[in-house]
């Protein structure tokens, strides 16, 4: 029988099939890797304790601290007392239950979706969960990876399994080639996709990204695309593993060597959608005319080309009254007028970071834009590497100096201003060009205004002091 990549991974992880007698439509699936962080795990551990349960497979469970860690000097104490309690709670829980933790002082600390692949925990054909919606990131390796709530975190801790209803197969076919591969990035590809199918377009499905351009992308770029699958509402994103995947993973810390690695490689060869498999849904996205994308509103589908003007609510909603109301509310929140060019909008802050765009590749590309230029005097700009490993690698290449000489702050790793749980936040009405994934109201700070862009577009905005078509420089 012809199967999609997703169906192969799904079928390979069924521990207990659906119970037809009881007409129950859930399957018990095995979870190969469980990633934990400080925000969504404390209540799960507490519940285990109350029920006198243990963690079934602490050896398949890995933890780090990322969401509310400060990105300033690590030798100083954490000033925010409540954050500090959450961080020490994770420390205590990992000790009590025997879970490997990459804490604030570890050279492997970082955003959970950056360190998973770095450590070689993310492998093709596996199932990966984390109490974080951006777990979809790991799908870039051909893993079925998805975010879960805290009750499910508890269930996986106790059983290493989850009850799931089978999602649908959704093919995203990228057609054609980008005209400028440095200025038009993976971020632009995925923002454009969300603009086309909407933020609920992928509900109940797993998106498989396909097409020649996908197979030419680096692993970092593939992660950017899979990361934002959730912003289209999808359960997960998937890209079939290939030589680029293998060469990224080879030699990573938690991958076996020699014979065992060869055995894994053999299984990965099967991880491809069979020709003539049927998808429940499909969309074609043409890259030929793709321009750099910028969001103007308060969800990631409210996106336009850098050459566009801010849409009028009627134009955006195309007759849908609820969408029109949403557009009016967004424009008011964002403090911008319909009809003006997006390039005329000044920015106060620039954030290069987050699980979407904080990997070495992202920082290298942005540094090409920054080199020899200065950040606008009206802008405060920061780079927050996704992990300590990214930070060290970038510093080895001298990239930190390029950013610092231009006037960027160069910080320690963490989620930082993507969600503003640490001190890195926007003030009310401050406007930010951000490489993160969500432009929701208040996401980066109460009243803060977020425009999502690629790292090169963020770098260009920092220098010009307003949005700028980076194709002119690249």
């Amino acid at each position: 029988m012809k199967k999609t990549l997703f169906e192969k991974i799904w079928d390979n992880h069924i521990v207990y099939p659906q119970d037809k007698d009881k007409q129950v439509d859930s399957y018990l699936l095995y979870i190969d890797r469980h990633l934990i962080h400080e925000v969504t795990s404390p209540q799960a551990f507490e519940s285990l304790r109350l029920n006198n349960r243990k963690v079934r497979r602490p050896d398949l469970t890995f933890a780090t601290m990322d969401h509310n860690v400060p990105t300033s000097d690590r030798s100083l104490p954490i000033l925010d007392e409540i954050s500090s309690i959450q961080i020490s709670t994770l420390n205590d829980n990992c000790k009590e239950f025997g879970i490997k933790l990459y804490d604030l002082h570890s050279p492997y600390q970082g955003i959970v979706h950056v360190i998973g692949p770095e450590l070689g925990l993310t492998i093709p054909g596996s199932t990966i969960v984390c109490g974080d919606s951006h777990t979809s990131t790991h799908g870039a390796f051909g893993a079925f990876a998805f975010g879960i709530g805290t009750s499910e975190v508890e269930h996986v801790l106790a059983t290493q399994c989850l009850w799931l209803k089978k999602p649908k197969n959704f093919a995203v076919n990228f057609i054609g080639r980008r005209k400028n591969i440095h200025a038009i990035t993976a971020k632009d590809m995925v923002l454009y996709l969300i603009r086309k199918i909407g933020i609920g377009g992928g509900i109940g499905s797993v998106l498989e990204y396909r097409g020649e351009t996908i197979s030419e992308l680096s692993m970092e770029q593939r992660m950017t695309i899979c990361n934002m699958s959730i912003e289209a509402g999808a359960r997960a994103g998937l890209i079939a593993p290939d030589e680029i995947t293998i060469s990224y993973l080879k030699g990573r810390k938690y991958l076996p060597q020699g014979n065992k690695f060869d055995q894994l490689l053999d299984t990965w060869k099967e991880l491809v959608t069979d020709d003539d498999s049927s998808f429940d849904m499909a969309v074609d996205i043409n890259l030929q005319e793709l321009a750099p994308q910028v969001t103007w509103g308060t969800n990631p589908s409210m996106t336009i080309d850098i050459t566009d003007t801010i849409p009028y609510p009627d134009e955006y909603s195309q007759g849908n009254e609820n969408q029109k109301m949403a557009a009016i509310k967004s424009l008011e929140y964002m403090g911008i007028e319909a009809g003006i060019p997006i390039t005329s909008i000044p920015v106060d802050r620039v954030f290069i970071g987050s699980c979407t765009n904080s990997r070495l590749d992202d920082l290298v590309e942005a540094s090409i834009v920054v080199r020899g230029r200065k950040v606008s005097s009206k802008v405060r700009a920061m780079v927050v590497p996704g992990s300590q490993q990214v930070k060290f690698a970038a510093e080895k290449l001298g990239i930190d100096k390029i950013f610092k000489e231009a006037g960027f702050e160069w910080r320690e790793s963490g989620c930082s201003m993507c969600l503003g749980m640490n001190p890195d936040i926007l003030s009310p009405k401050e406007r930010c060009a951000s490489t993160s994934n969500r432009n929701f109201e208040g996401r980066q700070g109460v009243g803060g205004r977020t425009h999502l862009v690629s790292p090169v577009m963020a770098a260009a905005a920092a220098i010009k002091g307003h949005f700028f078509d980076v194709r002119e420089w690249l």
């Binding site: 209540q43 879960i148 290493q160």
Partner: protein, 197 residues
């Protein structure tokens, strides 16, 4: 373990699309390490101004809507972050049911785990309820139907969620009974279920 019973209440109308979990429970309240006490932070930035005063124009601040147990809203409710704190806040505030044309996947699952019933209805039915916002609504999960005055609207729910809500089963205990199946799976899949540094 809570179980879901038949509920009769009026609804609180919140006619917005794509309400994300950052709006339902802003991040500054995610630092707590308990599951309780989140109700007072529900829709915080819409409910209170920067000084912590109630915003009069927000629906939850209108005394008319106090003590209603049904939240009526629009498409893609609960999108964004996986934070279960969003459902803890909704439940702690007193909502037992959310009615919308569609829900985000993770949020939907989180509702079931916390005995909050997410009901998907067609847009015309939703509009009918918005047009009659003070109507008394009775939700019967067993029969999978909503009655409001003389109108009866059936709704769909997947069987496993329905059983979970009605029986309030402890899912972890149920799974732990499958220990031999889980162990067998691990034995048969050594490449993926073992990690060595």
């Amino acid at each position: 373990m809570k179980i879901f019973k038949t509920i009769t209440s009026q609804a609180v109308p919140l006619p917005l699309v794509n309400i994300d979990t950052d709006q339902i429970i802003p991040k500054q309240f995610l630092k707590l390490i308990q599951k309780t006490g989140f109700g007072k932070f529900l829709f915080y930035d819409w409910r209170y101004d920067s000084e912590g005063n109630k915003k009069d124009d927000f629906v939850l601040n209108n005394p008319k809507y106090n003590n209603r147990q049904i939240l009526l809203t629009l498409d893609n409710f609960g999108s964004g972050s996986s934070r279960e704190h969003a459902v803890w806040a909704i439940s702690d505030y007193g909502f037992k049911i959310i009615i919308a044309p569609s829900f985000a996947d993770i949020f939907y699952n989180n509702c079931i785990k916390n005995c909050v019933l997410p009901i998907i209805l067609s847009k015309p039915h939703i509009q009918l309820l918005f047009d009659n916002e003070d109507i008394m609504i009775t939700v019967d999960l067993e029969k999978q139907q909503i009655t409001a005055n003389s109108i009866t609207i059936p709704f769909k729910i997947d069987p496993s969620s329905k059983i979970y809500l009605l029986e309030g089963s402890d899912e972890i205990s149920k799974t732990l009974k499958l220990e031999s199946e889980i162990s067998n799976y691990e034995t048969n899949h050594p490449l993926y279920t073992n990690i060595s540094e």
